[in-house]
Amino acid sequence: MDARTYDLIFICRPATPEEEVDKMIATLTHAAQEKGGTVEKTEKWGTRKLAYKVAKHREGIYVYLALHGTHGEMIHELERRLKVADVVIKYMTIRTDEELKRQRKLAGRRERRAARRPRKQAAPPAADQAPAEMGAAD
């Protein structure tokens, strides 16, 4: 199976102490490793205003994890833990590998196209070189 990448964002209650959030991240990291995945990146966005009320809260502590896994079982386990946790009021997991693949493909195509363009411009100097070589041979 192909390696899959995921984005996992969860929101904690605004009153959650810092240690609780860190503990949550540690549990999730551990659970992901148990299921054969890795946490590539962890970002704590801090307290942000929510666009709408979630569990009667107007703001929440955002935590973002970039995950690397091989199958969906890891996500099942992580989402189960997030659902059970009291401090978490909302979470979302998104599979990103297909979009990143597309992004790389488009970027590669653009690079190739950009590489082709200077070649046309470089053609005249190449033509200049050819007669010089011929002259040298004579």
Binding site: I9, I11, A51, M92, I94, E99, Q103, L106, A107, R110
Partner: protein, 158 residues
């Protein structure tokens, strides 16, 4: 001329644009450029008719331009309504994502997405933003993801 002077003496010194009698209508039509065929129908046309028909075109040109044609169309009557279409050239909009060469619209950048959403939280149509169809599709998925994680509102109460 004599008829008109007589009426002025009888009635008001300045007759309004609306023709009350058929005799005054041709005489007054020379002074203002108001349409001769139907004086009652003409004023209603620039107010109600053309904006509705050309609404899409003008609105996409920006809200500021909407005022221009209406002011012009008012006194001009029937032919005035058509004129603004030639006068105002819409500036061609370019997809902002294409200009910046973006291959992936990040749902986490809520400040970028915010500019493609109305105050209430509705997605702005392509004809207003100029986004190309491909980027609009990516943009919509990004907005929907941002909504799910409370970065953008589903519907903002005002």
């Amino acid at each position: 001329m004599t008829e008109r002077n007589d009426e002025n003496i009888q009635g008001q010194p300045e007759t309004p644009a609306a023709a009350e009698t058929p005799a005054t209508a041709p005489a007054e039509s020379t002074a203002p450029p108001a349409a001769t065929p139907a004086p009652e129908g003409a004023p209603s046309r620039p107010q109600g008719g053309p904006p509705r028909r050309e609404g899409g075109g003008f609105r996409s040109g920006g809200p500021r331009r909407e005022g221009g044609p209406r002011r012009e169309g008012g006194p001009g009557g029937g032919p005035g309504g058509r004129r603004p279409r030639k006068q105002y050239f819409r500036k061609r909009k370019v997809c902002r994502f294409c200009v910046e060469r973006i291959d992936y619209i990040d749902y986490k950048k809520s400040d970028v997405l915010q500019s493609f959403v109305q105050d209430r939280g509705k997605v702005l149509p392509r004809r207003l933003t100029g986004t190309c169809s491909q980027h609009q599709r990516w943009l919509i998925t990004a907005i929907k993801r941002a909504r799910n994680i409370a970065l953008l509102p589903f519907a903002q109460e005002l």
